[in-house]
Structure formats: structure tokens, C-alpha cells
Amino acid sequence: MTLFLEQALNGLQLGVLLFLLSAGLTLVFGIMGIVNLAHGSLYMLGAYFAVTFTGWTGSFLLGALAALLATVIVGIVLERVAIRGLYDRPHLEQVLGTFGLILFFNEGARLVFGPAGLSLAPPAWLSGQVTLLPGVVYPSYRLAVLVAGIAAAGGMYWLVARTRAGMLLRAAAANRNMAEALGVNSRLLFLAVFALGAGLSGLAGILAAPLLTVRVGMGEEVLLLAFVVVVIGGIGSIRGALVAALLIGVLDTLGRAYLPGALRFAFAGPVADAVGPALSSMLIYFAMAVVLVVRPRGLFPTSARTDVAA
């Protein structure tokens, strides 16, 4: 039972990390309508920056802050140079363009940061464990990630659903010309939002850095997961992204924890060993397919009517 609790907590923590990633994606992709494959690259950059700046400053917090800033700046430059030209383009062309960006960022990161994976230690005050319940020992850093992620989730929800900036953003994303005609500086707004999305993605990278090896290609590993989360949640829905991220995090973790064991009941050892990991990898995609078949527009769809709207 305590094991299950711990696994569930692991799942939540992974979910929160996924949420941070997909929150930025939901903003940029769900609301602004940009399919940005390079979103994962910003996550990677955030992690690289975190390692670099922590090395320079000697402090994880300072390094993380600087890394966040740097990722946001990269986001701003990226928006001005590349993304701006993609706003009014079909999704497919955005895919092509941002695929090019992935290649660029991966190669660039390798040139700048070197081919070897980098590693970042969590700050000393977070490198221990806490006993949550008798028998449930949990790494403090993971707990911190959980808290940071939930805070970011709350902030995002408030920003998009409750503030005027969020309203303007949704308005401009739906109909840029019309928003402009009502006095919205959509260029600036989009720039700000893209930078925010970049920042969130960078934050995810920064938080993940002490857990993972920072290396080229780490962005693509999570990109798909983030897209899965956004789509399951309902495109453009922050709430949906949160629920879906937690769902996927828990599903993935529990799948890895219990599926192979369950399979061993059914099959001989080697078969179960081979099929288990494959099946648990498949699990989230299977979940997505099921969700989309049952609810084609995700868990929290934004409703639409097409027979009278222009």
C-alpha cells in the first residue's frame, strides 16, 4: 500500500513536470494555433542554461533564474525571427518550419555545450528525502518540483481564464484582424505569450535538469508526451492540460510499476519481460486514442458551432 502511494506520488510528480511542458504548449499551440515542434528545444535549452548558469553563479536558484531569463530571451528572438511568419499559416507548414528549428537547436546546442551529457545536482537543501508518512520516504527535490508545478498551474489558469490579458489572447488567437480592429496590439501580445510559453517550457527543463542528464535530443523525448497531454486535455484548455498531464503521469508510472508484474501472471517470464515495457510505452498513446475516440475533442473541449459562424 505504501508502495502504491509512493508510485502514485511519482506519477503526480511526473504529471506536474509534463504539465509545465504542456502548459506552454497549450498556450502557443492551443490558443495561438501554432504547432511548435521546437517547444521541446526550449525545454532542452532551459536545462542547458540551468547547468551553465548554476556553474557560473554557484547557486542553483540564481542559475535557475538566469536560465529562465535566457530561455525567455531565446523565445522572444525565436518569435521575431521565425514564429511571427507562421501565424497565418496552415498547421502543416508550421510543422515543416518548426521541424527545421529542432534540427537547428539540436545542432546548435551540441556545438555550444558540447556532445557530452551534462549533469546538475539539486541544491543541497533539496537533495535529501522527507518522510511523508511512516514508510513513505520521498526525495525532497521531487516534492519541490511538485509544488512548483502546482503553483505554475494555478498561475496559468488564473492568467488565461481570469485576466483580461487571457481574454485578449484568446480573442486575438481566434481572429487576429478583428482583435486588431478593436485596438489589440496582437503582435506584442503574441510576442509576450510566446515568450511566456518559452519560459514555462524552459522552467520545465530547469526543474528536470537535476533529475535527468541534460543532453541533445531530450526535447523530442518529451515533446510527444506534451502534445499527447494537450490533445487529451482538449486543445487550448489549461484545466484540461492539468488533468491530462496528471493522468498521463500517473498512468505511465503505474503502468511501468505494475504492468510487467501483471503480465508475468499471464505469460512466461521472457515474453512478459519483452512485452511489458513495450506495452507500458504504448499505454499513453493507447489512452490518447481511446480518449479521442470517445471524446474527439478531448476531455475539456471548447465547444463550437459552425452553421452560423463566419
Binding site: A116, L118, P139, G269
Partner: protein, 377 residues
């Protein structure tokens, strides 16, 4: 129709992009160093090397191999980090008329029934190193060990090798997603719950780093001893040295092996690149030396392939691991040693040579290989 000009042409397929590019870079650097050491000459002929990136992808590896043998007309193809890339590519290399010499990947397939005359390995067969580790653990009377490896061929080979030799009980076996498992939290929780007397695992390169970090963060490091294979190397020691200090591993080579050729290699590598070479680099260096020994033996005659093959089989060169010979299946028969992670006075971490675990150890598949050893000429 492959004779084009004077030189000896060598293709080198390795991973130069993506998450594992560091391994490829280490291998390339070592190969270049070897060429420096031999004056870029073999059997009186100049040597040219074409490096190709496989992107850790079997299809790409195959295509690059194809390109090397068909476009560049290379006489030897070497490199190959990954078993699956090697398996995808070696036929193309051999069919294209080249000798294929793996400098790292050591799949069991090519060691047993499918062994083939024009393929050689300067590394090891996957099973061997974990077998040595299991032997160490046997000697310490460890039982109830948790086994962990990624779910791909090398991972399964390694686990198989470990289990073949290990005599104690196995608490549980776990195979993780490959290559994109982000997080080991679920596995770590299971380990904690199982509370084994030790954990043996294999996670290469960055994955090893990641596992050690998370193991430490989970507070398991001091509690359950870790025995690993191919998970700590010169490439990640700088990152995780602190976490793994005192930890032990088995290997066929170490930078401090007291062999003249090794000293030349390690000193040369440090001087040229300012870092300690990894075992990947050592194998790569050896592969250059092996090729040179064969071309020298035929006095630069690249046409007499039987003679070349025979010379390769003799392995008449000074390996960085000391004595080196090939088994019937063209995999090395070599010693395996215990190493320990130690902290030097300058604060850097390194691997310190310990006792010898296996002497002249041959892989367990060699018996299945139908190649008859040619009489030494």
C-alpha cells in the same frame, strides 16, 4: 573494381549527433590519436579515414556503411557503438568487400552461429563484462540481487550474462523502456520496497548518469549497494564521481593498466585532448592498431583478402589491454578486472585497477561459431 589509388581507406561509423554524441567523439578522437601514433601510414601506404554519423539509428548506420563501401571504396569499416546499428550494417560492409571491425558493439548474434569470417571485434561480447561482475558478487556471497537493464538487445544480453554466472537468488528483474525512459522513479520505488541486498544494473552513458542521480536522490545510495556494468566511464565520471565514489565495476580495460602501449595511448590522449580516455576510446585505438598490424603484415597488399584476414586473426599488435587474441568467432579472448571509483588528491575521480577477475576469458557463444581457426602462418 574497388582498387582506387594508393591509400588504405577506412570508414568509421559512430554516433556524432544526438544524446550519445560524446561516445562517438571519444572514439573518433582515439582513432585520430592512433593514426598520429602510426604516422598515418600502414604497410607503406597512406591512410585516409572517413567518419560517418549514424545518429544512433540502424537505418542511418546502414546507409552510411553503404556509402563508405560503395562510394568511398573503403577497405575496412570500423566504429559501431550500438548493437542494433552494427547488426543493420555489417552485411552491407562485408558484401561491399570491406572488413568490418566493431570497436564497441558486441552482440551475441555475431559471436555464435552467425559469426562471419570478415567481421572482427576489438571490444568484447556483451555477456562478458556482466559475467565478471557476477563473479565478483559470487565471491562476496551476495544473494537476493535486484537486476535492472534497458529493454533492448544489449541490455538483455548483459542481463543474460549476469544471470548465467551469478549463483545467488535474484530478487526481481526489471527491463525499462528504451531509449526514451525519462524517469526511474517507478523502478526506484520498487527497489526500495523489495529491499534487496544489492542492485546490479546496466545503463549506458547518459542513462547511467541519470540513474545514479535519481538513486542518490531517492536516498538509496548508502542503503543498497550498487553494482553496475558499463554505466560508469570516463565520460560521465566527472558528473557523477561524487555519487559513485567507492563503487565497483568490472571492465576489460582501465586507464591505469600497467602496459606500455596503454601508457602511450593514455598519455597521448590526455596530452592531445586534455581529458582521460574512456574504454570506448581504448577499443577504438586498438581497432586502428589491429588494422595496421594486418596491413603491415601483407606489406600493403589489400587485394589478398585471405592473407589480410589471417593477419587480422593473428592480432599481432600491442593492445592497450596487454595480451590480446581473437577467439574462433573473432571476438577477443581477454582479461577482466575489477575497478573502483576513487578520488585523487586533485579532487578528480578516476577508476582504479583492482584484482583480475577473469583471465583470458572467452565469450560463451564461441562454441557455436562454425568458423575454423586458420592455421597461424
Amino acid at each position: 573494381t574497388r582498387e582506387r589509388g594508393e591509400g588504405v581507406r577506412i570508414g568509421f561509423v559512430t554516433t556524432l549527433t544526438g544524446g550519445s554524441a560524446a561516445i562517438g567523439a571519444d572514439m573518433r578522437d582515439a582513432f585520430e590519436l592512433a593514426l598520429d601514433h602510426i604516422g598515418r601510414e600502414m604497410g607503406g601506404r597512406p591512410v585516409t579515414v572517413v567518419y560517418e554519423d549514424d545518429g544512433q539509428n540502424p537505418d542511418t548506420g546502414l546507409q552510411k556503411t553503404e556509402r563508405l563501401v560503395q562510394r568511398d571504396g573503403v577497405h575496412f569499416v570500423t566504429g559501431y557503438i550500438w548493437s542494433n546499428v552494427l547488426l543493420a550494417s555489417y552485411r552491407a560492409g562485408i558484401d561491399g568487400g570491406a572488413f568490418v571491425i566493431s570497436a564497441n558493439a558486441g552482440p551475441s548474434e555475431l559471436a555464435g552461429v552467425q559469426c562471419t569470417p570478415n567481421f572482427f571485434s576489438t571490444s568484447w561480447q556483451n555477456d562478458q563484462t556482466p559475467m565478471a561482475m557476477a563473479e565478483v558478487m559470487n565471491r562476496r556471497n551476495l544473494t537476493n540481487v535486484y537486476v535492472l537493464a534497458p529493454n533492448y538487445a544489449a541490455g538483455r544480453n548483459m542481463a543474460a550474462g549476469f544471470k548465467r554466472t551469478f549463483k545467488g537468488t535474484i530478487a526481481a528483474e526489471e527491463y525499462t523502456q528504451w531509449p526514451d525512459q525519462l524517469d526511474f522513479a517507478a523502478e526506484l520505488a520498487k527497489i526500495r520496497a523489495a529491499n534487496p541486498s544489492a542492485v546490479w544494473f546496466f545503463f549506458p552513458g547518459n542513462y547511467g548518469t541519470q540513474f545514479f542521480k535519481q538513486y542518490a536522490q531517492a536516498g538509496l545510495l548508502g542503503q543498497i549497494p550498487l553494482y553496475s556494468t558499463f554505466s560508469i566511464d570516463a565520460l560521465n565520471l566527472g558528473q557523477i564521481g561524487e555519487l559513485v565514489a567507492g563503487s565497483q565495476l568490472t571492465q576489460h580495460w582501465g586507464a591505469d593498466l600497467p602496459v606500455a602501449a596503454n601508457k602511450r595511448f593514455v598519455d597521448g590522449f590526455r596530452a592531445k585532448y586534455g581529458r582521460t580516455p574512456s574504454f570506448y576510446a581504448a577499443q577504438s585505438y586498438d581497432s586502428a592498431m589491429l588494422i595496421k598490424s594486418a596491413v603491415d603484415a601483407t606489406r600493403g597488399n589489400l587485394e589478398d583478402r585471405d592473407a589480410l584476414r589471417a593477419a587480422l586473426e593473428r592480432a599481432n599488435f600491442e593492445s592497450v589491454r596487454g595480451t590480446f587474441r581473437f577467439g574462433r568467432n573473432h571476438y577477443p579472448v581477454q582479461d577482466f578486472h575489477l575497478f573502483e571509483v576513487v578520488r585523487a588528491s586533485d579532487g578528480a575521480y578516476s577508476l582504479k585497477l583492482g584484482e583480475r577477475i577473469f583471465a583470458a576469458h572467452a565469450d560463451p557463444y564461441v562454441g557455436d561459431c562454425p568458423i575454423a581457426q586458420q592455421a597461424a602462418r
